[in-house]
Amino acid sequence: MVSPDVGMPDCKDSGPGSYEKGGVVSMDTQTFRKMRRYKALYILFIPIVLYLLVFTYYPFVRGLVMSFQENRLIGKRPFAGLSNYAKVVADPDFIASIVNSLIIGVVDMVLYFVLALLLALMINEIRSSTMRKSIQTIAYIPYLFSWAVIGGVWALIFDIKGLVNAILGFFGQEAVFFLAETSLARPLIIGMGVWRSVGYFALLFSVAIVGIDPTLFEAAKIDGASRLTQIRKIIIPSLSGTMKTIIVLLSIGVLTHFDEIYVMVNPANRRFISTLLLYVYETGILNFRMGTASAGATLVMIGTVLIATVMRRLTRYDEE
């Protein structure tokens, strides 16, 4: 039985809130009716909506308001106009952190995507199910570690007396001070991120690969397609939806690198890896300048929305 509320022909082409000529049922009314009909489902949404309102939108609005106010921790905060934004934008450290964030974020994004895809394709080629699952788990495990643990592990590996230098020493090479070597600052941070996250994104690709209709492969085999052709013609096109999702997810993270920087920053590498969120944390939070911190954070958010929007457009995310 078709619901009288669903697909009503006289409302089909109406824009939101518009009224049909001479009609009495608006889109709003229709939506309201639908909501009443499925009220049980809408009630289930309430906790989520409340959660988002309290923990996401309320702090966001408070932060936005604070970014236009003077830096005052207690009492009334006088309106400061755009002065906090002007201060942040005029700070050379902020500009340097934009550059660092973009370099680290974009390289991370590209490497996560490409390496995760390659890893997923390689894992998919392993015939032994036990081996496949084992490799998948091993690749995924670093994602479960906190950045503090990963920072510790990398310090042990790359310390002046660490594993890599021990190997270099074994081959008669001089020790390299990786952790404070300025030319290696960004590659190390990017490497840490790749090591931690590639397994996770590879898992997302693997799940999508498993979901591909097996009859496509059978048909391709019958047609005499090689494995490489099957990958090119079946697997990769089938992954386009997952690829779009991962690209948009990664683009949201371009400007928000913080934890890995926080655990690895030192006086020697700071200028090469200090990102926007570290800038916000140090300039705003540590110095108790909430207006300045909020202005910086708002700019990061605007940048993130811009990047994510561009990536959505480029990947035609909203198209089938």
């Binding site: 830096n71 005052r72 921790l73 207690i74 009492g75 050379p92 450290d93 310090a155 310390d159 002046i160 007396k161 020790a175 001070f177 952790l179 404070a180 300025t182 030192n266 006086p267 020697a268 700071r270 200028r271 140090e282 300039t283 939070i285 540590l286 110095n287 108790f288 300048r289 909430m290």
Partner: protein, 470 residues
């Protein structure tokens, strides 16, 4: 019927409000609940913190809630005050005091402190002058700050045959480190051995070396009212060059740039991976005490404190730690009661609570003397203030001190030693930026990426461009 139900419902809703109103009208003297937000001060765990709170209540006659934040205090302080929570007393450091005072977040205590008999009788005016901002006082003391000095593991230098009393110049220290390195690498086979650790973040531990050229960390005002940073003065060049030489010759631990103070301390007493660092006077004793517990004192670890190097005017310059303070937020409900706690902490009795701890838990009094319990000894006679601010507090009442600490603390009282805080530029210094700029240029210089003279010029130019110096 409907009306009756509505009437009953309204009555039921209003009943608690009416009862509360009736009850409160009977309260003639409401109890003042003083809310205190603390970082290091208080009990060592939740149970002891309750006892600390009770001891403080007993001493002041107030009803107190003491919230001790075990970690991440700065963020908690920011979140709680920013969210509008009201406290009567908050713990903060000197930089936070400047920031809060300039934002009007804490009350001006100048009149209260200057007219306080407790402060007049117990607190040195010199100490008060160190925390003034534009002549005003915005906080009272939690403790007396000590100073970092050179700590050397004499157990190692004795093996090498070095006489520590003859270390008078930068070259003497360089030669000592060189001899120790050679000994440890060739005789003890610990290669590579980096004998010196200096914590480069915040360029914090360098004062004993910059003393040799008579310069102090931070930013000061000159006679013309212009801000200047002594460490980037041309006169500082020999120290920058000396540090660079130490690194180039493998005498400075590369972990100085990446490690934390915890790493440095472990290397000093646990693994003896270094022979020298700069650390708090109290740590001379803690190194030895830790080694004692581990069974390595004094054969492998016997740390002694040294004042560093005399400057051109014949004095050793050491840096006093930034003050740890108590301030009253501008929205406090009970500022008078809060100030009475500040006063109590400045008395010898308050000092005893802040150091020795709680009577009956950390110590008992026998024949007028403190006898520490096992708990008290485990708590290291520190409940926020190992060295109380009261000039009348007798450290001897705390009994035996850790080996070496008495001698290290005594260095600060010598006539040829000047202990003073870093330059805060009357609260105008953006410490974070100063530290970042200085540690960046020093790291580049020490690691050989730029010449020392260029590094000094570069640091000065960057400090100037950010308005930190004029």
């Amino acid at each position: 019927m409907k009306r009756s139900i509505v009437f009953l419902l309204v009555l039921a809703l209003l009943a608690p409000v009416m009862l509360f109103a009736a009850g409160s009208s009977e309260q003639k003297t409401p109890v003042q609940e003083i809310r205190v937000l603390s970082s290091v001060t208080g009990g060592k765990d939740e149970a002891e913190n309750k006892l600390f709170e009770e001891a403080l209540e007993k001493a002041t006659g107030l009803s107190i809630t003491l919230e001790k934040v075990p970690s991440g205090y700065d963020q908690v302080l920011l979140q709680k005050l920013g969210a509008g929570e009201q406290y009567d007393l908050i713990y903060l450091n000197q930089f936070q005091m400047y920031t809060f005072a300039s934002q009007g977040a804490i009350a001006d205590l100048t009149d209260r402190i200057e007219t306080s008999a407790v402060y007049r009788d117990n607190v040195s005016p010199d100490e008060l002058d160190k925390i003034r901002m534009n002549g005003k006082l915005y906080a009272g003391f939690n403790k007396l700050e000590v100073f970092p000095l050179v700590n050397v593991n004499k157990a190692i230098t004795d093996k090498v045959g070095i006489d520590l009393s003859k270390l008078n110049t930068l070259d003497d220290y360089y030669n000592m480190l060189k001899q120790v390195k050679q000994y440890m690498e060739t005789v003890e086979g610990r290669k590579p051995y980096y004998p010196f650790f200096v914590y480069m973040t915040d360029v914090w531990d360098l004062q004993p070396w910059f003393s040799s050229v008579g310069l102090r960390r931070g930013v000061f005002f000159d006679a013309n009212g212009k801000k200047y940073a002594p460490y980037v003065d041309d006169a500082a060049l020999p120290v920058w060059q000396w540090l660079r030489k130490l690194y180039a010759e493998g005498l400075m631990d590369p972990a100085s740039f990446t490690g934390k103070t915890g790493d440095m301390r472990n290397k000093m007493w646990q693994s003896q991976d270094i022979v020298m660092d700069s650390d708090w006077a109290a740590w001379t004793g803690l190194y030895n005490n830790n080694a004692k517990v581990a069974g390595t004192y004094p054969d492998k670890v016997d740390v002694v404190g040294l004042p560093g190097i005399k400057g051109p005017d014949g004095v050793y310059m050491l840096e006093q730690g930034g003050a740890s303070l108590w301030a009253i937020p501008s929205n406090a409900k009970h500022p008078d009661a809060a100030f009475s706690i500040i006063e109590y902490f400045a008395t010898p009795e308050g000092g005893r609570l802040l150091s020795a701890g709680i009577e009956g838990t950390d110590y008992v009094v026998k024949d007028g003397k403190l006898e520490f319990t096992e708990t008290g000894l485990a708590h290291g006679k520190d409940h926020g203030a190992p060295f109380p601010i009261s000039t009348k507090f007798d450290l001897n009442t705390l009994g035996t001190m850790n080996p070496g600490v008495r001698e290290s603390v005594a260095i600060g009282k010598r006539a040829d030693v000047v202990v003073a805080p870093m330059g805060y530029a009357d609260g105008q210094l953006d410490a974070r930026q100063y530290y970042d700029i200085m540690s960046k240029w020093m790291s580049d210089c020490i690691m050989g990426k730029v010449q020392a003279a260029d590094a000094i010029k570069g640091a000065a130019a960057e400090l100037r461009s950010k308005g930190i110096i004029d």
